[in-house]
């Protein structure tokens, strides 16, 4: 470190530890132009309190505008023609009749016979052509006029068949996706052998030696179904291409990222592309990038010289808007008699359709202390729509296998599953979470497997989650104080329902001594400083530290004005309850508003960007992101009742004990955790994309045959959130959305085992699976 840089650092003492256990302090070197350490929540007025969402009134009255609600003058409506075949080449396509149809303004040929790569269609629902017309029915009618000559190719629609050497090939080296240097969603430069790509290998120690040293070994295979995102708001875009620049309204989790992608794709300078989202109706990973439909809408707008709206119908959502890949995994774990792990081996095959990213994550590798590990993960291509990230990608299906295997190991060793984890899990956070959760659920009530004698059997189970604390370092925030005393926070970050609007208002209000409702939050627009994405549970961690820093810098301007008026030194001033006060003499005070009135200019502003975590990152993840030192802990307990006559599993209660660093809005965090748990209940019991093996079509591309958890199946959910301080940033706040989802399905699975004494090893755990496991009906593949 250079001398100059050291001169810009200062030493600061931060609260450290878990509040319920007891707080100590930690000393950090922090940038001199960042605010002093934020005290623990019990010493704060605004942060750590459950203020309501500023956009609540607009959402409950229907006034708020989602992308599908936006209508521009002269706007056209687009529809997409999609492949009815799972594997085909477009030999010819005639769009002339569609183009001539009254009302049609632009036609785009997507599958172009002149370009072999684009002419190849890999799944039912793959886009073939798109039309923009003056109305949706006109566009729809025009699709019927497009004549396509398909040459059918042999296809494969299930993973087991696709792995066989004689299987039809989904990709050749020309069309196979190539992975990414970051390793996400899949590593680059892996071998392709038929439809199998990989393995992606992780090794440490010597598993052969480790298994030889083991007193007990458990081994089992697990499989998980394909889950679709089912955002209630469909994917949608309104593209408005004009000579002086492109404006895009889009339901997206990452305005700034979409802007970059558009600029690169269309060869536009960044300053000519603007991406806007006001209200956003759910993404869960599936609205992270421009997407093929975004590209179509922009191209049609450019062609037609008019704004174009394109949104996906529910069937298109189910077939071509991403999904959580299906997986198969075999786990083998060896341990000493006292529970100490000696070896873990993992082999997985997963399928993201024609896409990549079907790994089972890092649980087996990293959740528990084990010197010897061997992991080999493979992607298998099948003729189905591409997968994409979904709430806790990889680790969610991975935990379903690992946490059941650990449960099985505990039973084999005759050790309580919590006691075993106390021995093998190095995290002090999860240790405390196990303690709290066990007391809350009443773990001491847990009995031997299958203890109930009647047909309805009850059980308790536990599982843990592992998730990294992601940080987008390419994230910034502006805070403005205007002369009338109003305050604005600006960032391109988007509120996808997780509540970052509230969190930003609270963060800035705390600094300025105001109420959150006195802060106007203007976000979801790339005209503002880049706010980072709303995925990877990183939004709060990325954008609240620069928000606090920017607010603190603006406050120094106000202090300079107030110091003159109060005849005090700026460093003796504090902002408290709408006033600027002299620290030792509260009678000397000015209102915040009066102070602002003395500003030299109409407004004063500061922009701050996300600095590195104090104490450094665990590692960087590319140019724009990094991984914090901490992990985001999470332990969940489930209580179930299984009806062994009907096979119905009823989840009666879930206790979720989670950690997100400093909690900023406890009620919103509770909402997030409830949502994560419910998505996990849904994954555990109901959700499954079903492909017809004869046609490659999804047979349940809707919301009635594709089963989701509803209010009738919603258990009692107890949410406990630790206050965990580590002094890592200006707010010390991290994410929660994904960790809340990972442990639910395996906790339920372990509870089901405890109830009936038979282990279910595949998702979804529906009545047919339960009855098959109990030997009451034939096995259902």
């Amino acid at each position: 470190m250079s001398v100059a840089k050291q001169a810009n650092l200062r030493t600061a003492v931060f609260p450290s530890g878990i509040a319920s256990v007891g707080l100590g302090t930690v000393e950090r070197q922090i940038p001199a132009d960042e605010p002093p350490p934020l005290p623990p929540n019990n010493e704060l007025r605004v942060i750590g309190k459950s203020f309501p969402r500023p956009n609540g009134p607009a959402k409950v009255t229907g006034a708020v505008r989602f992308t599908v609600d936006i209508s521009l003058p002269g706007m056209l409506h687009a529809r997409v023609l999609r492949s009815p075949l799972p594997h085909a080449v477009v030999r010819s396509i005639d769009v002339s009749a569609a183009a001539r149809r009254p009302g049609v303004r632009a036609v785009l040929t997507i599958a172009d016979p002149a370009n072999p790569k684009s002419a190849k269609l890999g799944y039912v629902g793959a886009p073939v052509a798109a039309v923009a017309a003056v109305s949706l029915p006109a566009a729809e009618a025009a699709l019927h006029l497009i004549r396509v000559n398909y040459e059918t190719l042999p296809f494969v629609a299930d993973m087991a068949t696709a792995r066989a050497p004689a299987s039809p090939s989904v990709h050749d080296h020309e069309t196979a996706p190539s992975g990414h240097p970051s390793g996400f969603p899949a590593a680059a430069n892996l071998p392709l052998n038929g439809n199998v790509r990989g393995p992606s290998l992780v090794r440490r120690g010597d598993v052969i030696k480790g298994f030889a040293e083991a007193d007990a070994v458990v081994e089992a295979e697990y499989s998980t179904s394909v889950q679709t995102h089912c955002c209630i708001e469909p994917h949608a875009i309104v593209a408005d291409w004009r000579a002086d620049g492109l404006t895009v309204y889009m339901s997206t989790q990452f305005t700034a990222g979409v802007r970059d992608e558009i600029a690169e794709t269309f060869g536009l300078p960044l300053n000519r592309v603007r991406v806007i989202v006001d209200a956003m109706g759910g993404g869960f990973g599936s609205k992270s990038s421009l997407g093929n439909y975004g590209y179509f809408a922009i191209t049609l707008s450019r062609q037609a010289k008019a704004p174009v709206r394109l949104f996906l119908e529910r069937e298109e959502e189910q077939m071509d808007a991403g999904n959580r890949p299906g997986t198969w995994q075999r786990l083998r774990i060896g341990a000493k008699r006292d529970g100490t792990l000696t070896a873990i081996s993992l082999v997985s095959y997963g399928t993201a359709g024609i896409g990549l990213g079907a790994g089972v994550g890092s649980n087996a590798e990293a959740l528990y202390s084990c010197p010897n590990f061997d992991g080999a993960q493979h992607d298998v291509f099948i003729n189905a729509g591409p997968g994409c990230a979904m709430r806790g990608p990889g680790n969610t299906p991975g935990a379903y296998g690992l946490e059941q295997t650990i449960d099985e190991l505990a039973e084999k060793l005759g050790i309580d599953p919590l006691a075993l984890r106390d021995r093998i899990d190095p995290s002090p956070i999860r240790r405390e979470e196990r303690r709290i959760g066990a007391a809350r659920i009443g773990w001491s009530r847990r009995r031997r497997p299958g203890a109930d004698s009647g047909p309805a059997k009850r059980g308790l189970g536990v599982a843990q989650s592992l998730w990294g604390a992601n940080v987008q370092t390419n994230a910034a925030c502006e805070v403005r104080v205007l002369r009338d005393g109003t305050v604005e926070v600006l960032s391109s970050v988007q509120d996808i329902g997780t509540g970052i609007t509230t969190v930003l208002a609270q963060t800035v209000a705390e600094v300025l001594g105001l109420r959150p409702d006195q802060i106007t939050v203007r976000i979801g627009d790339t005209e503002f400083p880049p706010g980072g994405p709303s995925y990877g549970s990183r939004t709060t961690a990325s954008v609240t530290p620069p928000a606090r820093t920017a607010a603190w810098r603006v406050l120094q301007h106000l202090f300079a004005e107030a110091a003159l008026l109060l005849n005090a030194a700026p460093e003796d001033l504090i902002a408290h309850e709408g006033k600027i006060l002299v620290r030792q003499d509260f009678d000397r005070a000015l209102s915040f508003k009066d102070t602002a009135a003395h500003l030299r200019t109409d407004r004063v502003a500061a922009v701050a960007s996300r600095s590195d975590d104090y104490g450094g990152f665990q590692r960087r993840a590319g140019q724009d992101a990094a991984l914090a030192q901490r992990d985001l802990g999470g332990v969940q307990f489930a209580e179930v009742a299984v009806d062994t006559e009907t096979g119905i599993i009823r989840v009666e209660r879930v206790v979720a004990v989670q950690d997100c660093g400093r909690p900023i809005n406890p009620r919103q965090i509770e909402s997030q955790v409830q949502g994560g748990v419910l998505m996990g209940v849904s994954y555990a019991l109901f959700e499954e994309r079903i492909l017809d093996q004869a046609t490659g079509r999804m047979v349940n591309p809707d919301l009635e045959q594709y089963k989701l958890v509803g209010v009738r199946e919603t258990p009692q959910i107890d949410v406990v959130v630790l206050e965990n301080y580590q002094g890592q940033s200006a707010t010390d706040a991290y994410g929660i959305a994904e960790p809340a989802n990972i442990a639910t399905a395996p906790a339920i699975a372990n509870a089901v085992y405890n109830a009936i004494g038979v282990r279910l090893r595949s998702l979804p755990m529906n009545p047919a699976a339960v009855l098959a496991a109990l030997g009451k009906v034939a096995y259902r593949s």
Partner: protein, 160 residues
């Protein structure tokens, strides 16, 4: 509209009579959103599976995507835009804010219409009644626990 035969329908919506020129095939949800600018009513599945498009027909909650606009006749339609009394939110709307019974907010208008209809026909519901009232609604964000709490609180607030 694209050469299709248009018919003029008179609809009694949120206490006012509105006339719209619609194709006979258009659903009430499409007319509300596309013709009358009442975009608070959402379309999510467009086939009666998710209840996001719930409005009141007289005082009965229905899926607006499952009814043709020409079939509404003289019955009154109430949408989310017509629920508040001027600036004063309906107790269910206020309770949804207070209990954080919304996340992304896309299913919220429909959910509120069903919960408000419940309080109209049963001013003293219990949690089971709320579950029954919203059993046709899907919320992917998972707001159900807070929706139940909010609706029970709203019942209390209006003296039920």
């Amino acid at each position: 509209m694209d050469g299709a035969q248009l018919v003029a329908v008179r609809l009694n919506i949120n206490g006012a009579v509105r006339t719209a020129h619609v194709a006979a095939s258009m659903t009430l949800a499409e007319v509300l959103r596309g013709r009358l600018g009442l975009t608070g009513t959402k379309i999510a599945c467009n086939r009666g599976a998710c209840s996001a498009c719930t409005v009141w027909l007289d005082s009965m909650p229905i899926c607006a995507c499952m009814m043709l606009a020409v079939d509404v006749g003289t019955r009154s339609v109430t949408t989310i835009e017509g629920l508040a009394q001027g600036e004063t939110l309906h107790p269910v709307q206020q309770a949804f804010i207070d209990h954080d019974a919304l996340q992304c907010g896309f299913c919220t208008p429909g959910m509120i219409m069903s919960c408000a209809a419940l309080l109209k026909r049963n001013p003293e519901p219990n949690a089971e009644d709320v579950r029954a009232a919203i059993s046709g609604h899907y919320c992917r964000c998972g707001t159900y626990p807070h929706v139940i709490a909010a609706t029970l609180a709203a019942a209390k607030a209006q003296g039920g």
